[in-house]
């Protein structure tokens, strides 16, 4: 039995491994990316519980509107939201691509575009919610509407947080350039963004499409 000679086994951010993307080049970066995957696992389960509650309650409409009535009148809103979010996931992916393959100015451009798409998504969602509320379909109308607003609103809160977070990372990249730390941060926020896209696809399918069927 012998001793490993490096005293720098863990938390190292100096010696760069070669041949791997910058964000994975340090032990610390790779560990934090794994940590973020584990966080996403907990978030997946959180959404699973919200979906389970929604599915259990979605026919419990009391004296309020049904899903078919609520979503069936105007499908353009959620359709637009869906395509905006899918596109933002693509542009966010392009930001990671540019980070790995060269142009840092294009990287920043794609982040800004992603944030703008995110903002327009949130804008549409706020508009949708306020329309429902103005028609008297509020959270306290029925169990179905409680579950709907909570599930979709939780996703919206996640997206809003993602936009602020992305802004913070954009600021750091502008100030400090792309280095193993900022690359890791951008990679993680992009994972988060794609993950929110996946959640939205399920909201689109389970809440909206199933609702109008």
């Amino acid at each position: 039995m012998s001793i490993a000679h490096s005293g720098l086994q863990h938390h190292v951010d100096e010696p760069l491994q070669t041949g791997v993307p910058l964000e994975f080049s340090t032990e610390d970066g790779a560990t934090k990316i794994l940590g973020f995957w584990l966080f996403m696992v907990t978030d997946v389960l959180l959404f699973a519980c919200l979906f389970a509650t929604y599915v259990v309650l979605y026919k419990h409409i009391g004296a309020g509107a049904s899903a078919a009535k609520l979503f069936g009148d105007d499908v353009s809103g959620f359709t637009a939201e869906t395509f905006i979010l899918l596109t933002s996931s693509f542009t966010c992916g392009l930001a990671t691509y540019e980070m790995r393959h060269g142009s840092h100015s294009r990287l920043k451009l794609w982040i800004v575009i992603t944030m703008l798409l995110g903002l327009s998504f949130i804008g549409l969602e706020v508009y949708e919610f306020s329309t429902f509320v103005s028609h008297g379909d509020t959270m306290s109308t029925s169990a179905f509407l409680s579950a709907f607003f909570t599930l979709v609103g939780t996703h919206g809160a996640h997206v809003s947080l993602g936009i602020i977070w992305m802004g913070l990372i954009l600021y750091q990249i502008s100030r400090r350039g792309v280095n193993p730390v900022t690359a890791r941060k951008l990679f993680i926020v992009s994972l988060y963004w794609h993950f929110l896209d996946v959640v939205w696809v399920f909201i689109f399918t389970v809440v909206y499409l199933t609702g109008v069927m």
Binding site: V41, V44, T53, G93, L94, G102, V201
Partner: protein, 110 residues
């Protein structure tokens, strides 16, 4: 590639080029979404058949995001994140499926 200056990406990742896989992923996600939409509004399947197919399309969307955008297959050491994510999918199925099963006793959920 023996000596790479610190704080620079490794050579083979340094080339420009066109992000083909990202574009492919984007197109796939659009096709899957439009497919689900068309199925609900234009196809004449029963409720349960439609539900089954659009849920299947949504699962494909997960794979598209994971493979084309989230770099899930990139391995730097053992791929613990894939194991945990797979297990998470199993538990999602358990939570949603069993909740419906358990809670369907007196409710209208079929």
């Amino acid at each position: 590639m023996s000596t790479v200056p610190a704080k620079a990406p490794a050579p083979e990742t340094h080339q420009g080029g066109f992000p083909w896989s990202h574009v492919a992923g984007y197109l796939l996600s659009l096709v899957l979404t439009i497919g689900a939409f068309a199925l609900v509004f234009h196809a004449k399947l029963s409720f349960h058949e439609t539900l089954f197919v659009i849920l299947f399309l949504a699962v494909l969307q997960i794979l598209v995001q994971l493979l084309f955008f989230m770099h899930v297959t990139e391995r730097h050491g053992p791929s613990y994140h894939m194991m945990m994510f797979g297990l998470a999918m199993f538990f999602v199925f358990v939570i949603v499926g069993a909740s419906i099963w358990i809670m369907s006793f007196g409710s209208m959920v079929s």
